[in-house]
């Protein structure tokens, strides 16, 4: 799932302070699950904005909506009738949603209400961690189901480096929390699977064309095209 975190209300407020009708548009997809851009967060942000503007004596109308998803035209279509009555939209969807909304309603200023962070998992309530970098060329089958591209800070393919200590990545000292060394995890896992032999083989070069290095990506599948 795509993980995001709410932007500071001040930043959002400063973007829309000169408009008189603003729509706060949430998304019931990933960003709702990670409690950054769902209906609840829409309510919280909209009330914070109303309080702020009323305190400074500014009249600004703020409406709320939450779409099933903002990465599908079908759901964005729901805004077609009402969008013209707003001067601007704050989208609490991920970066994809914000952009798709922008593409669909070309005239409207759209501002992001969250910072889109990564593809990850809910480890426990309020703790989300990265698991995938969408490199476009999954190698989890080689590495015991643990991704070195994502979980090694240097995306090494033949790790661990010399900075791995007690299962922690060398960057732990700097980021102020324990970051697991991806290669320590891979090693433990391969050992458990009895597949340590895999580790002995030096890797090939990674083909990064399917990653961001290859330019904006697209999947076209003839089999599911109408």
């Amino acid at each position: 799932m795509i993980m995001a975190k709410p932007k500071k209300a001040e930043e959002i407020i400063s973007r829309v302070k000169d408009f008189s009708r603003v729509l706060v548009a949430g998304c019931k997809g990933c960003v709702a699950i990670c409690e950054a851009g769902g209906q609840k967060e829409v309510e919280v942000l909209a009330s914070a904005m109303r309080i702020h503007f009323s305190q400074i004596g500014k009249r600004i109308e703020i409406d709320e909506v939450s779409l099933s998803r903002q990465c599908d035209k079908e759901y964005l279509q729901e805004l077609a009738d009402s969008i013209d009555s707003y001067d601007a939209v704050i989208s609490l969807a991920c970066g994809a949603g914000v952009q798709f909304l922008t593409e669909m309603y070309g005239e409207k200023p759209v501002f992001p209400g969250v910072d889109t962070c990564f593809i990850g998992v809910t480890e426990e309530q309020g703790v989300w961690s990265e698991r995938c970098q969408a490199c476009g060329n999954c190698m989890l089958g080689e590495t015991g189901g643990i991704c070195p591209i994502t979980r090694c800070s240097k995306r090494m393919l033949n790790g661990p480096c010399g900075g791995s200590e007690n299962g922690k990545c060398e960057i732990s000292l700097l980021v102020g929390r324990d970051v697991a060394c991806g290669w320590h995890l891979i090693y433990e896992r391969l050992k458990k699977l009895g597949e340590l032999e895999r580790f002995r083989r030096p890797s090939e070069d990674k083909d990064w064309t399917a990653s961001r290095d290859g330019g904006p990506r697209q999947i076209i599948r003839k089999d599911v095209r109408p």
Partner: protein
């Protein structure tokens, strides 16, 4: 092991001498004198001089330019290269440039994460890692091919290929496997992380021998003299992957401040003496961090002076 490149370091090792290397950190400015000065200090006392590559991710004069400078002084550089800052295009290009100046030694590294350095907000590259870099150099040298497939008719790198290894990093069990992988990739010499925990180092060396790796790769033991007890504590607590046992700290702390540097030198001389006896140790890599002027003294007191002459080295 018989020498196959013009590398003086390789010849020294092939002739069965204990090799001595040291390193020189370029300055954080464009001063042309610093590297020359540091290299001159080492002229008669080491076989080759490593030049660090933006070590700890702090911007410094570039390793390649400094290696060329050292080469022009008639000395033998070891080009340290990290994959943190270069993709495979830049890596191969730098290797060809180094080749054109007759740089015959390379130390292949992945590099410290950039968050350690003076540009923590920069992007990193990591198109490949150290193991893959080793393979790349070997392919360019032995097959005359670039990664993209281009065949070089002339001007192949002629490099003695090295790598670093840290016997003190975790998980310990994987360290020798990882060395084996680097050797399989083409590493011919290894410079280890600086050694303070002798017991652990010897355990590692035993595993190296059990795997037969000591016959395939020359292990140069990393030695760094401790200047003050503060430095020892800093390395223990702040530098990932360095193992400074409590006993070492106690020993340095146990002498008055003005004698701590000498105590540190004594400690490293004892280590060298002990390691000379260790099967598979083919030399020493003496890294006197910002204390390069001490290296000649250490080499002399360790009985590693004068350095042997080898035939045919440039």
């Amino acid at each position: 092991m018989s020498a196959t490149t013009p590398s003086r370091l390789e010849k020294i090792i092939a002739a069965g001498h204990l090799a001595v290397t040291s390193e020189c950190g370029p300055p954080r400015n464009g001063d042309p004198e610093v590297v020359s000065r540091k290299a001159e200090l080492l002229r008669n006392h080491v076989d080759a001089i490593n030049v660090t590559d933006n070590q700890t991710a702090v911007v410094r004069q570039c390793s390649l330019a400094s290696c060329i400078r050292i080469k022009l002084l008639g000395l033998e550089p070891v080009l340290q290269m990290v994959t943190r800052d270069r993709n495979r295009i830049a890596i191969q290009s730098d290797l060809l440039g180094a080749t054109s100046f007759g740089v015959h030694n390379i130390l292949c590294l992945t590099g410290d994460h950039q968050r350690f350095g003076d540009h923590p907000t920069s992007a990193n590259v990591f198109d490949m890692d150290s193991t893959r870099l080793i393979q790349t150099v070997r392919m360019m040298r032995d097959e005359g091919r670039l990664l993209g497939g281009h065949q070089m008719e002339e001007g192949r790198p002629q490099m003695f290929i090295g790598a670093a290894e840290n016997p003190f990093a975790d998980p310990f069990e994987i360290r020798v496997l990882r060395l084996a992988k680097k050797v399989a990739a083409g590493a011919q010499f290894i410079q280890t992380q600086c050694i303070y925990n002798m017991e652990k180092f010897k355990l590692w060396m035993k595993q190296v021998r059990d795997e037969g790796l000591h016959e395939k790769v020359a292990v140069l033991a990393g030695i760094t003299p401790i200047k003050t007890v503060g430095m020892a504590k800093y390395m223990k607590n702040k530098v990932p992957g360095i193992d400074v046992p409590e006993a070492v700290i106690k020993r340095i702390a146990g002498v008055p401040k003005e004698n701590q540097a000498e105590e540190g030198i004594k400690l490293c001389l004892e280590q060298i003496e002990e390691l000379k006896e260790e099967e598979g140790i083919m030399g020493f890599h003496i890294m006197a961090i910002e204390w390069e002027e001490k290296v000649p003294e250490i080499v002399e007191r360790a009985g590693l002076f004068p350095r042997p002459a080898v035939n045919g080295s440039e």
